[in-house]
């Protein structure tokens, strides 16, 4: 009989655990402790740990780096390129870009004078040239091909440099988001720079930015401190120090933000409703990320026998209730998408006619295309082929897997069988790159110049390098190529509007939504103006303040 006590004890222990967890209300957070020194320290709950500080060889999205290493340009909260170390962005209108007799284009950058590297050496056109040379000689730079279009760089004087481009490109102002210090690295070979520990990990990682690298504690945090000689004025930056704590687990990061110990950090869309902590608020930052379902029509590896017919693709799109996904699954934190260019961009086309949710019509379209349930198993078939395909999911991406499950259920309603298969990160990436999959839920960062060529151009070895669906449309190819060389906004908009409509008509990519990133920001943080581009929220950190 005494053995019963054991059960009693176990149950009591359990009861205590849960009781403590969910009985009492939350204590009000004491907020971030002010250090005794009285310094203004900004604590960031960061979702990852960087690989290297060098923004050109890092394989991650860089945001921390741009507080230290400024470039010629950066993107602001309106998704525009703004000059940083350059006085202005060269255009035809301001005479910065001119056409040469041989069909090439000269682009003249005028740099700010008196800008100092963190070690006191002056920043000049030599550094710009050095940075370009580094990229030209380092294939690991992910967008090296863009820099390769610069065929010549000429230093006019200390503060002027002229690039000669082989042709017109809309990404002209979108590169050189960071600078390398020539005087620190010039004695090393290009390969040595890529491996140069003091630069990759600090303390030699210097820039011209408002903050200077101070410390990187492996696996735990990076500290950057105020640059006392910042070129925008000695009063800037207003914050003394930033501590970027690596908290990759999303629940842990959410707990971290709730504990009140951090000023800023990103959370998940499904956690927004649950966040209610005094002294902190949620900011929904419209981002350049668009979510979609890709159907693979590549002959080898894809499923052209299923998705080859545009009526079928249309039917699939019409069977997916995007409104329910956006309003209910994501609790209204995002916006329905009809095209790859998000509303944050001036090139977004709001008037696209995309297939509307209409499962009845979807069934009709499928029947027209010859897909009927002839054997009564509830799944459509045609010539003995079942309409059954597999979603390739990447493990750990909970948001995309949730969408895949919803779509799976919705397609079941019209007689389509969807299977799910999860792959670990690297395995997933390899299959995806090799077009060895049926369908997948994806998310891309649209670059600020809104060029579509890499994703949707017919893959011909030169263009469409990231078009893994096998989609191809001659008219679209022409439009996109032309748009890539049209610098005039109005003319380009017409081209891109058309291109977006054709992409929508092709329905190889079924657009779901544009993501608004939920960020938790301290009420004390002044001048925070979040930016949803790949260069991050820190573009104006020099004027941030902690009140």
């Amino acid at each position: 009989m005494r053995k019963w006590r054991l059960a009693l004890v176990a149950i009591l222990l359990l009861g205590c655990t849960f009781g403590m967890l969910f009985a009492s209300g939350q204590k009000e957070p004491a907020g971030v402790k002010t250090p005794e020194s009285g310094k203004k320290i900004l604590y960031v709950a960061y979702d990852r740990e960087l690989d290297v500080l060098n923004p050109f060889t890092s394989q991650m999205l860089c945001d921390l780096q741009h507080n230290v290493s400024e470039g010629l340009i950066i993107t602001n909260d309106k998704n525009e390129f703004i000059p940083v170390l350059a006085k202005e962005i060269p255009t035809f209108e301001n005479g910065g870009v001119v056409k040469n007799a041989d069909g090439t284009y000269d682009m003249t950058w005028h740099l700010h004078e008196g800008v100092l590297w963190h070690d006191g050496v002056e920043f000049t056109a030599e550094d710009v040239k050095f940075t370009l040379d580094f990229v030209h000689n380092t294939p690991a730079v992910y967008n090296q091909s863009e820099y390769n279009k610069i065929i010549k760089a000429k230093i006019v004087d200390k503060y002027t440099i002229v690039f000669t481009w082989d042709d017109l490109y809309t990404f002209y102002p979108g590169i050189f988001e960071a600078m390398l210090p020539k005087h620190v690295l010039e004695n090393l070979s290009w390969d040595e720079i890529a491996r140069y520990e003091p630069f990759n990990r600090g303390p030699k990682f210097i820039g011209t930015g408002p903050f200077m690298f101070e410390e990187w504690k492996s696996g735990e945090y990076i500290r950057i401190v105020r640059n006392p000689n910042y070129w925008r004025g000695k009063q800037y930056p207003l914050i003394d120090e930033m501590v970027w704590q690596f908290i990759p687990d999303q629940t842990a990061r959410f707990n971290a933000m709730k504990s009140g110990a951090y000023h800023i950090g990103q959370i998940e869309a499904t956690q927004v409703k649950d966040f209610n902590v005094k002294g902190l608020h949620v900011e929904m930052i419209p981002s350049n990320v668009f979510y979609y379902i890709d159907l693979n029509v590549t002959p080898n590896g894809g499923r052209p026998e299923l998705f080859g017919d545009v009526r079928v693709r249309r039917a699939l799109y019409q069977a997916i209730d995007r409104k329910a996904i956006v309003d209910q699954l994501l609790e209204g934190t995002v916006q329905i998408a009809n095209s790859p260019i998000p509303p944050t961009s001036g090139f977004h086309n709001p008037n696209i006619s995309a297939p509307k949710y209409d499962p009845q019509n979807a069934k009709k379209l499928l029947a027209e295309a010859g897909w009927k349930d002839t054997n009564g198993d509830g799944i459509l078939d045609k010539n003995g082929v079942k309409f059954s395909f597999t979603f390739m999911n990447r493990s750990g991406r909970a948001d995309r897997i949730a969408i895949a499950q919803v779509v799976q259920a919705q397609l079941k309603q019209i007689g389509i069988e969807v299977n799910m298969r999860e792959y670990e990160a690297a395995a997933w990436s390899e299959r995806w790159r090799n077009s060895n999959w049926d369908a997948q839920v994806g998310g891309w960062f649209m670059s600020s110049d809104a060029s579509l060529t890499n994703y949707y151009h017919t893959r011909d070895g030169k263009n469409g390098s990231n078009n893994f669906t096998g989609m191809g449309n001659a008219e679209l190819d022409k439009l996109m190529a032309e748009a890539d060389k049209t610098l005039d906004f109005d003319k380009r908009k017409v081209l891109l509007d058309k291109a977006q409509q054709i992409i929508a008509d092709e329905v190889v990519s079924l657009y779901l939504y544009y993501r608004d990133s939920p960020w938790i920001v301290s009420d004390r943080l002044v001048n925070f103006r979040g930016s949803g581009t790949n260069l991050g929220n820190w573009w104006n950190a020099w004027e941030w303040d902690l009140k």
């Binding site: 005494r2 250090p35 310094k39 704590q245 842990a252 390098s465 990231n466």
Partner: protein
């Protein structure tokens, strides 16, 4: 004895070689390669950059060539350069060691200090209320998934009560011993729970076996007090197998704890390992795994030696 140790040490060499071949094959057999990370930022990447990247890392060569290159370098003490960070693997591992050992070591010591007395008292007072509580608590601890327990703790102590910090080893800008202690409490508790539960069960079981043996009864009958019998004779004999098992567990200290480190943002080696796995950072993976394996093999030998040393009945052939 000495001959036994020498023989086992010599046997270690082929064993470690075999381990390295197996591990190398396994990580290379895993689909995907280090170039996968290039696409992780969710932006376009030039295919030429991907090929150049593979060539630069040398992963475009046949596996056996890569293996012998790695082995050759390893024999000269060079563990290679990490793909992701371009840093020497050895430095990366050594950098994470202090925090890994601090956390793992603390939880080990705490677990040992709690588990052994717990097991002894449970056995001595078998079926008492104390025994029931200890057994019940051990079972509950064993039955809880680590990440669940960790996140629950975090929610309770960091969010609700605001006693302890969520992540890291120290509050930058605050610092100090108390601050560091606050940071280590939760991860160490989560880690030691399982060990306490396991070891105390084992100690109890071992102790019960000893208490029922003849020589203990003889000691009783000779008029020795119960306390002396238990503390002098029984505990000593009962702890022999437990100590040897704990020695084996020391090897695990060096490998860190993936889940606990992830949840509490602890800069340990376990988290570095899983990142390296996702990025297919072969040199770093090999470095971490070979270090772990070597530790297991070495402490295995130490455990066997300690066992024989504590228990004179064992002879080494």
């Amino acid at each position: 004895m000495l001959r036994y140790v020498i023989r086992r040490t010599i046997q270690m060499v082929p064993l470690l070689l075999a381990i390295s071949v197996v591990i190398f094959t396994i990580i290379q057999a895993a689909p995907g390669g280090p170039e996968g990370t290039l696409l992780d930022r969710g932006m376009f990447v030039d295919p030429a950059a991907i090929d150049a990247y593979r060539a630069r890392l040398g992963v475009d060569q046949p596996i056996f060539v890569q293996y012998f290159k790695w082995l050759g370098a390893m024999l000269t003490g060079d563990m290679g350069i990490s793909f992701q960070t371009q840093r020497p693997v050895l430095i990366m591992i050594l950098e994470r060691m202090p925090d890994t050992l601090r956390l793992m070591g603390l939880s080990f010591v705490v677990a040992a200090i709690i588990a052994i007395p717990l097991g002894v008292f449970s056995a001595v007072k078998q079926y008492s209320t104390f025994d029931f509580i200890a057994t019940g608590a051990s079972f509950v601890a064993i039955a809880m998934p680590v990440f669940w327990f960790g996140l629950m703790m975090q929610y309770l102590f960091s969010v609700k009560l605001q006693w302890l910090p969520v992540a890291g080893t120290v509050t930058v800008g605050v610092g100090g011993f108390v601050d560091q202690l606050k940071h280590i409490i939760m991860p160490a508790t989560v880690l030691s729970m399982h060990s306490i539960a396991g070891w105390s069960r084992y100690m109890r079981s071992s102790m019960l076996g000893v208490l029922n043996q003849d020589y203990i009864r003889t000691a009783h009958s000779k008029g020795l007090s119960r306390r002396t019998v238990i503390s002098v004779h029984a505990v000593k004999n009962a702890s022999i197998p437990v100590v040897s098992v704990m020695t084996l567990d020391i090897a695990r200290l060096f490998s860190g704890a993936v889940i606990t480190e992830t949840i509490f943002g602890w800069p340990g080696i376990g988290r570095m390992f899983i990142q390296a796995m996702h990025a297919r950072d072969y040199p770093l993976l090999m470095g971490i795994m070979m270090m772990g394996s070597t530790m297991v093999v070495v402490f295995n030998l130490i455990a066997d030696v300690i066992y024989g040393w504590l228990d004179p009945r064992i002879t080494y052939e």
